[in-house]
């Protein structure tokens, strides 16, 4: 049996008395495209944030390719991971944010070569070559010398995707990548993600409110509520024949709003 790419093992995350992840068990296989949907406050974004180690968890272990992320093995068993361990494991993960979070003082190209040079230790020539390929892939080759403030939201998000890919991650996390965009720019970003999903060379975790898109590109859709997976399955089954009443409610509300 092959080890799943990502495995949450009874992971709990609380803010004070508020439980955001409630003993969550969750697995994603290599090359799988999984979409997480759910009402706000259901913990769906938190799954991505703890996986990216932007936030810690109180209980449980998160495994990435069979290695613990938030813990590490020592002679006394599992102990909390130190910074070096976290950096080593999380180098396999890239993330695309709702608000892009491009570095505003750097051009599109500089955004894409900063971490490969500073973190992976690539030479500038190598990093530039790779960044130019990726910018071309997202259709922004000619924007390489523009600053984020000179780009539209859709263009910024595409640069952000190129920047994440420049680190050669195995796993890419998309946190509501189109939620901050004007409607006419959603399509260009979705088509980049669609192309990545079709490749199946990356393991992709996507949090989105674009139900049609989720249905189209996902291998599996998970419905989160109250920090747990309430229902999951193939997109056509989950959207076409939802079993859980909360999912039915959620879907009817979301579809009504369109």
């Amino acid at each position: 049996m092959t080890e799943p790419k990502i495995r949450f093992d009874k992971v709990s995350k609380r803010y004070g008395s508020l439980t955001v992840l409630d003993r969550l068990d969750f697995e994603v296989d290599e090359g799988e495209v999984v979409t997480i949907i759910g009402p706000s406050g259901s913990g769906k974004t938190t799954v991505l944030r703890v996986l990216m180690t932007l936030e810690g968890v109180q209980d449980g272990v998160i495994w990435v390719s069979g290695e613990p992320l938030n813990k590490m093995q020592s002679k006394n068993g599992m102990v909390p991971a130190n910074k070096a361990h976290i950096r080593r494991i999380r180098s396999r993960i890239g993330m695309v944010f709702q608000n892009f979070n491009l570095f505003p003082h750097m051009t599109a190209l500089d955004n894409c070569i900063e971490a490969p040079i500073q973190s992976l230790g690539l030479s500038k020539a190598e990093a530039v070559e790779r960044a130019e390929e990726l910018l071309a892939m997202v259709g922004l080759a000619e924007k390489r010398d523009q600053y984020p403030s000179q780009l539209s939201g859709g263009q910024q998000q595409r640069v952000a995707i190129a920047r994440a890919l420049a680190m050669r991650p195995e796993i890419i996390l998309f946190d509501e990548p189109t939620s901050a965009l004007d409607p006419e720019m959603v399509g260009e970003v979705l088509s980049v993600i669609r192309a990545l999903a079709a490749e199946h060379s990356y393991t992709i975790l996507l949090v989105t409110h674009q139900m049609g898109f989720a249905r189209e590109i996902s291998d599996r859709v998970c419905f989160f509520d109250g920090g747990k997976i309430v229902e999951q399955g193939l997109p056509n089954e989950l959207f076409g024949n939802p079993q859980n009443s909360r999912l039915q409610q959620f879907l009817s509300k979301v579809l009504e709003a369109r």
Partner: protein, 240 residues
């Protein structure tokens, strides 16, 4: 525009001061005042270097994840912010020798001014760092940049333009505070003016010239800061 308005005001004030001074035979006291101005400039530049360095060191240190570094920064800030500059100057010049540390007047003045204003500046820098959106730090983490590189290459470059207005304000404050260095026997503009006044009794013109010189220095800093800020924010998006 605000900047143009104060440029005109500076020019008029300068010409006015010059006219009055010329009219009353400024050559008898001006050389002494200019020598004083040279001391003020020297002390200001040296102190500013220490002031900016300490602002960034302690400002960054106060936000460091390592607790002792935070403590040391906080202690430094509170001690130098909470005590009188004049008393600090006395300490460096008159008290330290009894512990075997003898400083020249210039050393004492620069240390006193630089460390004192560095403590204020550290709070400006800390505020500026905190004002950089949290997402920048998160993006750095997602790109696996080490913490110190993310601070140095991502956060600080964005914090500097935010800190410039506050720091140029403090720099102007500091230039004016150099008037206190006569306490450690330096003859700056203020002290030179007092001396010249005692010799020549030309109170009005001497102190007008002194005022104009200080005003020109502050305007220089103000323009410098504004230009620097404009250059550094040229490519930044306006806040939404």
């Amino acid at each position: 525009m605000n900047v143009r308005y104060s440029a005109i005001a500076a020019l008029i004030a300068f010409l006015l001061g010059l006219a009055v001074a010329t009219f009353s035979e400024l050559r008898i006291f001006l050389p002494a005042l200019l020598r004083g101005a040279a001391v003020t400039i020297e002390i200001s530049i040296l102190s500013a270097i220490l002031f900016f360095s300490m602002s960034f060191i302690a400002g960054i240190g106060r936000l460091n994840s390592i607790r002792p570094i935070r403590w040391i920064s906080t202690i430094y800030i509170e001690v130098f912010r909470g005590t009188s500059l004049l008393v600090i100057l006395f300490w460096f010049f008159f008290v330290l020798p009894s512990f075997g540390v003898v400083l020249s007047p210039t050393q004492a003045a620069v240390l006193g001014l630089g460390l004192n204003f560095g403590a204020y500046g550290a709070e400006v820098v800390r505020g500026a760092i905190t004002a950089v959106p949290k997402g920048q730090k998160e993006a750095s983490a997602a790109l696996n940049l080490p913490d110190w590189k993310s601070t140095l290459r991502i956060v600080i470059p964005q914090a500097i333009p935010i800190a410039i207005p506050g720091l140029s304000n403090l720099t102007i404050e500091m230039i004016k505070a150099t008037a206190l260095v006569s306490a450690v026997t330096l003859v700056d503009i203020t002290f030179a003016s007092v001396q010249q006044n005692q010799i020549h009794y030309r109170t009005l013109d001497i102190f007008i010239v002194a005022m104009v010189i200080y005003y020109c220095f502050s305007q220089l800093i103000r323009f410098g800061g504004a230009i620097l800020e404009a250059r550094m924010t040229r490519h930044l998006a306006r806040p939404h």
